[in-house]
Amino acid sequence: MRALRSMGPILAVLAVLLVLIALVNPFFLEPAGFLAFLKRAAPLVILAAGQYFVIVSGEFDLSVGSLVTVQVVVAARLIDGQEEATWPVLALLIVIGLLVGLANGVITTGLRVPSFITTLGMMLVLSGAVFLWTGGAPRGALSETFRMFGRRDLGPVPWSVLVLLAAGTAAILLMRSDFGKRLIATGDNERAAGLSGVRVDRTRIAAFVVSGLAAAVAGILLGGFAGVSAQVGQGLEFQAITAVVLGGVALGGGRGSVVAAMAGAFTLEALFTLLNLYGISGALEFAVQGVIIIAAVAASSVRLPFRRALRV
């Protein structure tokens, strides 16, 4: 398939990284080891999938990091250790994600504010608002049921992997649907889409809503996996955008697949794992990430002129 062919480079890189990891740490090849990797990668992969929807329509969503933090902090405060509160709170978190996405979308399309600014502003509002509410530091505690998603297993398979599979499948199906086709057409050529009857504004708003939803799910997983802190979502928006770009999705929209974006996220996570195994951790991770992101984007913009236009 055309999409798979264009994913060649990122899959190759991913494969190489996975092999290198296995060489350094053979435990990786065992189901438990590999599943642990997937568990760690799940939140970023889901975030990248959500960010993909926004980027392929030609926009940015810088608010997902703060949104994740908000999710975790709100959950802790509301649940406060009580098991019974888990499910209602989970529902609320989803709603928050949807609403934030909706707000981002409406402000960007309705007020014609560049999405960069809208989601930047939203980032400030979210981080301000949540700490306003909690009085400066996260309070309360999550419940075991909540943590289950990020931390525990269902049988041999971690919950987060199941969630990842569900989310990934949903994303793929969504992009294959009429909506997905409309979305990518909008990112490719907004005018042509509008003149073909696409509701351009609504389609973009929906993309932001999906991104918000993805942030909610990622937040739920991260809360269980990493615990409650004020920094849980820090920098995630940049990581998500990096992952999407790594997967060959162009900033500006119209090109690339959600599978590629998720592959990009796996690759980034694999890179982090590998760096950790080599003892390069913490700070230098960022430096390497910086180099990679520039190199990946530069490479993809260089490749294009070599594609000769075949006149059929």
Partner: protein, 347 residues
């Protein structure tokens, strides 16, 4: 981010055979120049008024010398960075690496000065060199590797962050007392740091208004194709803008080092200088797409944010509430500018 667009035209001229009156043309020009810059200063005046009222109601006194000096102090570092960011945005680009660059340069300064007066000159020189270099890298990655400014400067930011966080855990180096005066001294009521900011702002303002480079920055930001067709070397202009932007960030790093007495790896991010500087520029009416706006507006934007800050401090408002208000103000301002822009275009 810039694109080709037909210059929007005002509606047709006067009656046949009568050339439109000269004053009419001039009047229209004035109306256009009561543009975004005036808007931000009106907003600033408005905020100051509201702030004064609120503080008075709360029992305090807003416009004391203390507060004004405090505002000047607070805004100096951000102001310097924002002036540099103005250049990047005017040319149609942007710079997300300034915050980490500030941290880096504060450390470079403090380490080289090492508490010695004799280290001041080498320290400053090193800072300027390092900042210029990073600005050059940013510019080249954007123009030669054809990487979007967001990604390019994000990448640079991460690389610098990586290096800084790897080498340092906390404050390091030390700044000699004589240099610290930069951060703390006053000449009369005016802090030296505010003078520094004013000097930088004036210099950049001058550059934009009176030099070829300034003119061409506006041209490239306004319509790159048009500029290119007129023989302007657009790549070089973008690189120059980025170098200057980074140098401003470096100067801000020097200022912060002089205040702290040392360099620190978090000084840039703690202040949120990357996004705050973009916010100040955008608040001041410079279009994110480039080609329109200037230093005057940015100064207004910085002052507005500083006044907001000050008002909140006086009212002892929760720091987080400040963030919320800031976020709303930024989005609202851009929405207003977007409306005005659209209305202008459809005339």
């Amino acid at each position: 981010m810039t694109g080709r667009s037909r210059p929007a035209a005002a509606t047709g001229t006067a009656a046949p055979d009568a050339p439109a009156p000269r004053e009419g043309g001039k009047g229209r020009a004035l109306a256009g120049r009561i543009g975004s810059t005036q808007v931000i200063y009106l907003a600033l005046a408005g905020v100051m008024l509201v702030g004064w009222v609120l503080v008075a109601l709360d029992g305090g006194d807003f416009l004391t010398l203390e507060t004004i000096v405090g505002i000047q102090q607070r805004s100096a570092a951000l102001g310097i960075v924002a002036v540099g960011q103005t250049l990047a945005i005017l040319v149609g680009s942007l710079d997300l690496s300034v915050a980490y660059l500030i941290s880096l340069t504060s450390l470079v300064a403090a380490e080289i000065m090492a508490g010695q007066d004799g280290g001041i000159v080498p320290g400053v020189a090193a800072v300027l060199a390092v900042s210029a270099l990073i600005g050059l890298v940013n510019g080249l990655v954007i123009t030669r590797l054809h990487v979007h400014a967001f990604i390019a400067t994000l990448g640079t930011a991460l690389i610098v962050k990586g290096i800084v966080d790897h080498l340092y855990d906390g404050p390091a180096g030390s700044v000699p007392d004589s240099f610290q005066r930069l951060g703390y001294d006053r000449i009369g009521p005016v802090p030296v740091s505010a003078l520094l900011w004013a000097a930088v702002a004036l210099a950049v303002w001058f550059l934009l208004r009176r030099t070829r480079l300034g003119y061409r920055i506006y041209a490239v930001g306004g319509d790159e194709e048009v500029a290119r067709l007129s023989g302007v070397r657009t790549g070089r202009i973008v690189v120059a803008a980025h170098i200057l932007c980074s140098v401003c960030a470096g100067v801000a790093g020097l200022l912060l080092a002089s205040r702290l007495g040392a360099g620190a790896p978090t000084v840039g991010t703690d202040g949120g200088y990357d996004l705050e500087s973009i916010a100040a520029v955008v608040l001041g009416g410079t279009a994110l797409a480039g080609g329109r706006g200037g230093v005057a507006g940015t100064v207004g934007g910085v002052l507005l944010l500083a006044v907001l800050d000050s008002v909140f401090n006086q009212l002892e408002v929760n720091a987080f509430f400040k963030d919320v208000v800031r976020g709303v103000v930024i989005v609202a301002a851009v929405a207003v500018y977007a409306r005005r822009g659209a209305r202008r275009r459809s005339r």
